[in-house]
């Protein structure tokens, strides 16, 4: 559905995207993950024919985004970052306007607007003015707009930014549902988002593509380094000695928590779950253990991990 090869975009002297290549198959939900300024929006804007690439080509549904941009525009539903809408229009009026703009006939537009309003649960706000809607509703209006002409590909730029947790869940659910019938490319800087919705993840950092893999594979790469956090009340030397003696622990870090508690971050050897061992040690020594958690891998961890791998390969 999407073929991007060696895409580079420079603004003035700055390189926003540097030699990115990837493919998206029909029916996939692909997440474009990266911190702010990684070049996600730039890639999506190039794919939606808003900006030209400096070097490289991109094809959507077999059409070049620069030379055949009319064909491309017909086949994509694009929701830009921050989801700009005309605040002075009513919801149904806005969607009808967008549908007509995308070339639907009057009767077809009416029919499709009805369908997407049901799909995005907008039926009860059809007469409301867009500018007075809550952010969650506005986001759904943007999604409905992207869907209204039945595009083959949906390109969504940060669709859950600025929403409250409940709205985020609703929008994610909606994206997941849409994924059954559409190919979707969604950008985000929140890891749980891609974990929940996407089948494949592209990781972008400073304009370069660091990894492109399925969710399972990426997690596997990470889980080789299992981290466990334990909060224990015990004398410090005892703790240090104990962790030093345990062969399965590769690396540990102790920092004082409140009272007599210490926070121990323990990194185990590849593929070993040491939580039960830590508990066993606490029982043997008579320590008080008040927390034992598996360190969750944040987006930061993924970056650190992948960037480190990247550098090791180069040296």
């Amino acid at each position: 559905m999407i073929e991007v090869s060696d895409l580079t975009k420079r603004y003035g002297g700055q390189t926003a995207v540097a030699g990115v290549s990837f493919r998206v198959q029909k029916g996939e939900i692909v997440g474009l993950l990266g911190p702010n300024g990684a070049g996600k929006s730039t890639i999506l804007r190039i794919l939606s024919c808003y900006l030209p690439a400096t070097i490289g080509t991109a094809r959507v549904a077999g059409f070049d985004v620069f030379d055949e941009c009319d064909e491309v525009k017909k086949r994509i539903g694009y929701m830009p970052e921050n989801n700009p809408l005309h605040p002075d229009m009513r919801v149904r009026e806005y969607l009808t306007f967008r549908a007509r703009l995308k070339g639907l006939s009057a009767s077809r537009a009416r029919e499709r607007v009805g369908v997407v309003m049901d799909q995005c649960r907008l039926a009860e706000v059809g007469r409301r003015i867009v500018g007075q809607l809550s952010k969650g509703y506005r986001q759904r209006v943007g999604l409905a707009d992207a869907l209204v002409h039945q595009p083959e590909l949906l390109i969504l730029d940060e669709p859950t930014i600025g929403l409250d947790p409940y709205q985020v869940r609703a929008v994610r659910q909606l994206i997941k549902e849409l994924g059954r019938t559409h190919t979707i490319l969604v950008s985000t800087h929140v890891l749980p988002e891609v974990e929940m919705t996407c089948s494949r993840i592209l990781i972008l950092h400073e304009g370069r593509l660091l990894a492109a893999d399925s969710k399972e594979n990426l997690q596997k790469r990470l889980s080789q380094e299992e981290k466990v956090v334990a909060e224990i009340a015990a004398p410090l030397p005892e703790l240090q000695e104990c962790w030093k003696e345990m062969e399965l622990i590769e690396h540990f870090d102790i920092s004082p928590a409140d009272g007599e508690y210490y926070r121990c971050a323990l990194t185990a050897r590849a593929g070993v779950d040491i939580r039960s061992l830590v508990f066993e040690q606490a029982r043997l020594h008579g320590w008080t253990l008040r927390e034992l958690t598996r360190g969750s891998h944040t987006l930061e961890d993924i970056f650190v991990h992948i960037i480190r791998g990247d550098q090791e390969e180069t040296f």
Binding site: Y50, P52, D70, K73, I76, P84, H86, R98, L101
Partner: protein, 250 residues
């Protein structure tokens, strides 16, 4: 065509959905009303040979309205959409650049035309109460409106161009106001400066907008004026299109 009409409707609707449209109409109504009062006072004071339509153009109100309202009408056309980000949704829809430019121009021109409608009413009103039916003939009324529309299309296209250059409506107003005022004073030169000889005098004669409008008010349609306004409007629309397209090669 469908895309164009949809966009024109949206543009025109935008003026009425926000307060700007009503404020503009109110401002124009006030100025037109003042000019109407002036005209009545003058007609009362002394009898005149000149037709009603011409009476209107010799006042300053026409130029006030033209120079002040056109930048405000056009400031939103591109700048507002760029500022709010809807420009991105617009340009990533299957629309052509030329459709967008023409639709924005048409929408603004239609709104401009709407603000002028009360003038026709005033003129008809005077005719209704005057004993001499020759005071207003339908032909000169039509050509008057044609003149207003032609000058307007030049100023509207200039405003669209200014608006396409920036994402700030204030900057857009400033640019189009400067362009419009500049052109207006250039066109006044043939009246103010001593009649010279050679080509400069000819050029200034050719662009003398005040004289063009007096011609229109007398019911004269000079093809040179037509060519002047139509080509200049097209020129500014062409520049606007180029600015819109520049996104693709910048």
């Amino acid at each position: 065509m469908q895309v164009y009409l949809t966009l024109v409707r949206r543009e025109l609707g935008g003026y009425f959905a926000s307060l700007t449209g009503y404020i503009l109409i109110a401002a124009v109504l006030l100025l037109l009303g003042l000019s109407f009062v002036d005209m009545l006072v003058k007609l009362n004071a002394e009898p005149t040979e000149a037709p009603l339509t011409e009476q209107f153009f010799v006042t300053v109100y026409f130029w006030f309205i033209l120079l002040l309202t056109t930048p405000v009408i056009t400031m939103r056309s591109f700048a507002l959409e760029k500022f709010s980000g809807t420009y991105e949704t617009l340009m990533t829809s299957p629309v052509k650049d030329v459709q967008v430019v023409l639709a924005k121009f048409t929408g603004a021109l239609l709104f401009y035309a709407i603000t002028w409608l009360p003038l026709g009413l005033y003129l008809v009103l005077v005719r209704h109460y005057s004993n001499d039916p020759a005071v207003l003939n339908p032909i000169s009324l039509l050509t008057t409106f044609l003149g207003i529309l032609l000058v307007g299309s030049l100023y509207i296209s200039m405003g669209c161009f200014a608006s396409s250059l920036t994402r700030s409506q204030v900057v857009a107003v400033m640019i189009s106001f400067a362009l419009g005022l500049g052109l207006f004073f250039l066109s006044l030169r043939s009246l103010m400066a001593a009649p010279g000889t050679g080509w400069p005098a000819g050029v200034f004669q050719f662009i003398a907008m005040t004289e063009h409008l007096e011609d229109f008010a007398r019911g004269i349609v000079d093809t040179r004026c037509l060519v002047y306004y139509v080509t200049l409007s097209f020129f500014f629309l062409f520049l606007t299109l180029r600015v819109v397209e520049s996104r693709r090669w910048r």
